[in-house]
Symmetry: D2
Subunit: 124 residues, 4 copies
């Protein structure tokens, strides 16, 4: 399991005084970027070869709101893997409990947007 | 069914040259705001009474990417409704096909973040 | 002078209950995109030729805050133009007064980030 | 001088392959939040007293673009201070040089949006 932490800033909040719902997807994407880095996957180099990761599906549960100045922990765990598709569980926590949970399906795409194989060996 | 249109601008894209995945949630939230307006629900007045809508769950499928300068249509349709919970289907389309589809569960919350009844009659 | 209107949505606000300060730059960039469109400049085609517009300098005054649900008008006016550089004045208004004003310096860049001439005739 | 670092993620980039121009304002606002924290100013407590910081003016120079995966350093330095107004210089750097520089004027506002004195002693 990969652990990432981030702080909630003004930009993340909305007038309800809590984190805007779309911004949890930013937090978990930052965590995925750090996770693939720890696996030795270089997204910049992949992009130069024309391969980008794309999200195919997200199932997200909003459990309790994150607030300004909160320090969040994001846990990322691989659930399943095929040649073309990864499924991850990602959890956003604050001291005291779970705030947000998502199951994310990722694919690799070529420059014309077609699915391609994931970088070989990267996610073993 | 409610119809809303919006344009894709620079702010919505990422280095993959397509709309960043979290931003579809912004588009469909704009559509929901316009939808509740057409129903006569005044979110500003509700907020002053301490009631805000909150998203509880999103199931989102990314079908085909939206690009810079695209004009998007967002269709919003109520799927089910209880005293405390709405379920909507929201579809993002461009001429030629579906790009994104989400099922969104909404609740109403009091200022301390507890679920409350939806504004009476508003969604009948 | 070019006129563009947009609505303030949840995504634009922050916990202070007003539009987050960086988001005015999004609003005026939308207005610039619509402005260049009316001039017949196709940013997608330019991008394919490797030319993008880039902001070189912004001087921004925050006069009065925009709020959720506000309908904003953005006025865009060219102040000066050389072969390589445009200067625009952009004003964000709501019924009743000015909210935000910016002077924006734009340049055209090649794919390697070097300044190049603006598309010929486009801004005459 | 206060130093803050942050990483550039997908969310920060646009289709030009570089950081979207409004997002530098997010980076420097994160740095200001961390800076006031080091000064012992609690923005959450202030907000509960009805006081928020607001940006009154930004003069921003875009020198060289930040890219995906860059680690950025943000330097924040107070330039001047009166009872009601702070002026800061903020610089965004990457190894090898300056990318962005802004002079930011901050005021403190009451809940009805009127200027008030800055928290006493906080910025001495």
């Amino acid at each position: 399991m990969h652990i990432f932490t981030c702080r909630v800033y003004y930009e993340d909040t909305d007038l309800a005084g809590i984190v805007y719902y779309a911004n949890y997807l930013k937090f978990i994407e930052r965590a995925r970027s750090e996770w693939v880095r720890t696996l030795g996957v270089d997204q910049v180099a992949l992009k130069e070869q024309g391969i980008v990761f794309a999200v195919r599906r997200v199932e997200a549960d909003y459990i309790s709101p994150a607030k300004f100045d909160d320090v969040l922990t994001i846990e990322t765990k691989m659930v399943s893997k095929t040649a073309a598709r990864l499924i991850l569980d990602q959890l956003v926590l604050r001291v005291g409990g779970e705030l947000f949970r998502a199951r994310v399906t990722l694919v690799a795409l070529t420059p014309d947007g077609r699915p391609t194989r994931l970088p070989k060996g990267a996610f073993d």
